[in-house]
């Protein structure tokens, strides 16, 4: 006997159920199909090609009027079901019609989530779900602008589709990188680069605050940081919620989605549900592959046959031309998990495989996704990959031969990239020298001059020898930055500049990093190298800094912190001392100590109290002494001509001037100075990174001293006549060290490598260059000479560092 089946929603999932029913037993059910949209089943996935103009709506229709007629489906499109009476087994349509059913199928899909920002109800704020939304976007063209909130699959398809129509599109994404659910940081970086190449503006880590309107229509999006982005249309693509309202009201069990069992039955034995509206075993669904599996099982259940829905792995591809990416499975790090990473910087390719217990559990690929389905198969089948492990990443076509190439990053450099900064020699010039017979490093030095000065480019020159001569050249051993890379510090620094690398993920991709996101050794080094190379243009990554530099205080063994305010040249005032004393009282500071750097240390302060004590000290005019920084520390001085009978110059005044110029600067390691008023050297200038000894005829500038792990006496760099020159040489020396030394090398280590003579050539003999280096230093200071304490105490920067997320010790006390 034919039974009555009522279906709510003519979507992609319920459409499949109808197909299976009709194939198996056309007479089993008399079907009535309701759909809120004024049309039948179409391929929602292909809305993006419709948007970009590659397809028409007609081409993506799955079931047209003829099909429904041939299959005897009664269509009620443009009509919603208003309520369900599961006891009486009837549904009520919007117009009041009541229909009885034997079986009811929910296929109501999901609703796009709209963030309730102020202005979300303005005209011109839309989601991306159906044909109507698509048509709204298709109404834009040249000269229009649009904002897309959400850098996931849908948002990026919307953005690319509109950009293809000439619309000026900005994507706002709250996370640090695009498609963070499917991609890791490295692949997210490559995707972003491809979108930017298409003319799309991408803002990550951006928080939307308000949608601004005019005459009831959207005008612009306002971000947290005050930026306003004008737009004619604002598309929110921030996620979907299963459409469960009707099901909930009809009394069947609903959690995040409509609860279904393995047979797709809801808590009511006559009601089934399929598609994005369901929740099965805790999981929700947003891609069609599992929905089609559900449809198969639901049809069988309706026909009284045995079947069971099993969740499977899903894979994602983005349908944006030119953005070739693939992700499948689970690629989170884990105890027993290992990564295999392949990067080809020249082609912009990144592949990462995650392996657990000899099976592949996850894969992310960008740029070359041809092998995606093969890897996906290995994941789904849990194939044992131990035998092919070594060559796995090269894919199924691998025949033995190539291996990962440590020279890839250098090979990818353009011919005009500068290899040797000292002598202005390009890659092409080095290669030319090798080609005419310079087959050793020394020969290249002699004929092209590359690597003949500071020597920091020797590693890259060796790479070029290796690339050009192949097996005929024996590569020298390199001291690599850490286990994440095959490159030395020098190579990395040179390439950051040659390739204009301005973010950590970018550097890791372009320089062929072997891990997906580095470690505690390479991240701080990369961060410093970019801070130094691109003042003002690089966004400092505090999360890649050691805790002291991240929270601007020194951590103590018990987890408290110490606070050292700056005291320029060791000079203080009664007011400053009073403020320090008051702060010590107010915050119960257990120890107040005079440091070896001529200033005062307040030790044992609770992390939560830091912003408050900084605020108090700041009111009295004090700023951070950066006693925690790989950067400028102190300038010690003696009393000099002001008071001392032996004094030859104003050593105190000069020290203060230098500290005023240099505070706030970051460097490879800490940088300490001292200025003594005569050779008796009461300020201990001869064991500092840079020391000045005043003499009758001027100022002796001494460099390369240390009194820590190694004890080193300074050497004379130059003697100058005026204070002004002394300051200039000091700044030029600091800049040269900042640009040249490897991370965590004090100046004496760097000098041992490049030679004092080379330094003299650079900034003693070459006055032009001295000026240039000093100017570069002052330029950089424009961006870094900002008191970090004031930023945190008064402007609330990084507030999350200083307060607990939650405090349950107080809860119980109440």
């Amino acid at each position: 006997m034919t039974q009555k089946l009522v279906i709510i929603g003519a979507g992609m999932a319920s459409g499949r159920v109808i197909e299976h029913l009709r194939d198996a037993d056309p007479d089993a059910y008399d079907i009535t199909l309701f759909n809120a949209e004024p049309r039948g089943n179409y391929n929602r996935i292909m809305l993006s090609p419709v948007l970009s103009g590659d397809k028409t709506y007609q081409e993506i229709v799955i079931h047209d009027a003829d099909w429904y007629e041939e299959n005897g489906v009664t269509c009620r499109f443009g009509e919603k079901i208003a309520s369900v009476d599961s006891a009486a087994k009837t549904v009520t349509a919007e117009n009041g019609d009541i229909l009885a059913y034997d079986k009811l199928l929910f296929g109501t899909g999901s609703n796009p989530f709209i963030i309730p920002l102020p202005g979300h109800d303005l005209e011109g704020v839309i989601a991306y779900r159906d044909l109507e939304d698509t048509q709204r976007m298709m109404g834009l063209g040249d000269g229009h602008s649009a904002v897309v909130i959400g850098g996931g699959l849908l948002g990026l398809e919307a953005a690319a589709g509109m950009a293809a129509r000439g619309v000026d599109v900005t994507v706002i994404h709250i996370m640090g990188h695009l498609m963070e659910r499917q991609l890791d940081e490295a692949a997210g970086y490559l995707l972003r680069r491809a979108l930017v190449d298409k003319g799309i503006t991408v803002k990550c880590s951006a928080n939307s605050k308000e949608i601004l309107g005019e005459d009831g229509k959207v005008r612009a999006l306002l971000l947290d940081d005050g930026t306003e982005i004008p737009c004619d249309l604002l598309v929110m693509a921030v996620g979907i919620r299963p459409n469960t309202a009707l099901a909930g009201e009809s009394g069947i069990m609903v959690g995040r989605g409509i609860h279904v069992d393995d047979q797709l039955l809801t808590s009511n034995e006559d009601i089934l549900a399929v598609g994005e509206c369901v929740e099965h075993d805790g999981a929700l669904f947003g891609l069609v592959a599992p929905l089609y599996e559900q449809a198969k099982v639901a049809a069988k259940t309706l026909l009284g046959e045995e079947a069971k829905f099993v969740q499977k792995e899903v894979s994602t591809k983005l349908k944006v031309t030119g953005c070739d990416l693939f992700s499948a499975g689970d690629f989170a790090e884990g105890e027993n998990r290992e990564d295999i990473i392949f990067r080809d910087p020249a082609r912009g390719v990144y592949k990462r495989l995650v392996i657990e217990n000899n099976t592949l559990v996850g894969a992310v690929m960008y740029g070359d996704t041809d092998d995606g389905s093969w890897f996906f198969g290995l994941i789904k089948d849990a194939t044992d990959i131990s035998d092919m492990r070594d060559t796995l990443i090269f894919g199924p076509a691998y025949q033995g031969g190539s291996t990962m190439d440590p020279l890839a990053a250098v090979a990818a450099l353009p011919d005009d990239a500068e290899i040797c900064g000292c002598n202005g020699i390009s890659k092409a010039q080095v290669v030319a020298a090798i080609n005419v017979g310079a087959h050793t490093l020394d020969a290249v030095k002699a004929t092209s001059k590359a690597a003949s000065s500071c020597g920091s480019c020797a590693g890259l020159v060796a790479d070029l020898l290796g690339l050009t001569l192949g097996d005929d050249f024996r590569m020298p051993e390199k001291e690599v930055i850490c286990k994440c890379s095959d490159m030395s510090h020098d190579d990395v620094r040179k390439l950051i500049i040659a390739k204009e690398l301005k973010s950590i993920p970018q550097a890791m991709q372009e320089l062929d990093w072997k891990t997906s996101c580095g470690c505690h050794i390479c991240r701080p080094a990369l961060n410093y190298y970019m801070v130094c190379a691109w003042p003002g243009a690089y966004e400092d990554d505090g999360k890649s800094r050691f805790i002291n530099e991240r929270v601007h205080a020194n951590i103590q063994k018990d987890g408290t912190y110490s606070v050292v305010p700056r005291m320029l040249g060791g000079i203080t005032t009664p007011d400053e001392l009073r403020a320090i004393a008051d702060a010590a009282d107010k915050y119960n500071v257990p120890t107040v100590k005079v440091t070896g750097g001529q200033r005062i240390d307040l030790l044992g302060i609770k992390k939560e109290d830091l912003p408050a004590i900084w605020y108090d000290l700041g009111k009295a005019g004090m700023i951070s002494g950066q006693a925690y920084a790989k950067g400028l520390r102190t300038v010690k001085t003696c009393v000099g001509t002001e008071h001392c009978r032996f004094g030859t110059q104003d050593s105190t005044g000069l020290g203060i001037k230098i500290e005023e110029a240099m505070w706030g600067a970051w460097s490879p390691h800490k940088f300490k100075l001292a200025v003594s008023g005569c050779p008796r050297n009461c300020a201990e200038a001869t064991c500092k990174d840079l020391g000045i000894i005043c003499v009758d005829s001027g100022y002796q500038i001494l460099v390369g001293g240390a009194a820590g792990l190694d004890l080193r006496q300074t050497e004379l760099l130059v003697q100058v006549a005026s204070e002004e020159e002394a300051i200039d040489v000091s700044c030029a020396f600091y800049q040269l060290y900042r640009e040249g030394a490897q991370y965590l090398h004090r100046p004496y280590k760097w000098i041992a490598k490049v030679g004092l003579d080379w330094i003299k050539e650079q900034i003693v003999d070459d006055l032009e260059n001295r000026k240039e280096k000093a100017e570069k230093f002052h330029y950089s200071q424009k961006f870094y000479q900002i008191d970090p304490w004031a930023e945190r105490a008064k402007q609330g920067v990084d507030a999350h560092e200083f307060t607990p997320l939650a405090d349950f010790t107080k809860v119980a006390a109440e």
Partner: protein, 111 residues
């Protein structure tokens, strides 16, 4: 009875950042990784490591600021040659909120 407790919004912790939750049994560090996964571990491994919320994160690992031990956030185990395990606590993410297993934060006073 719900056995998970809301401790805040996902956005209260920046990407690659960490925050502390204070409890009567000691501090718990709650990490949010670059891919927005959230993990909760004891802030200290007594006598050995901590405060872990102050460390540098890389992948699903954190490097202890005091002695450079590296801990796996998923298991709490020290990596490499170092030995020791920090207690981990179940976390759930729901609608942008972070929930922690109630047993992690409730006092053990009743024992």
């Amino acid at each position: 009875m719900s056995n998970f407790i809301d401790i805040g919004s996902l956005t209260d912790i920046p990407l690659r950042g960490a925050r502390v939750v204070r409890t009567h049994r000691g501090d718990i560090a709650v990490f949010r990784t670059a891919t927005s996964e959230v993990f909760a571990l004891d802030e200290y491994l007594p006598g050995k490591a901590g405060p872990l919320s102050n460390g540098i994160q890389h992948d699903n690992k954190v490097t202890d600021p005091m002695r450079n031990w590296v801990f796996d956030l998923t298991t709490g185990e020290a990596q490499g040659a170092d030995e020791g395990t920090v207690a981990t606590y179940p976390i759930k993410l729901e609608d942008g909120r972070i929930l922690i297993a109630a047993s992690a934060v409730t006092a053990v006073a009743a024992e």
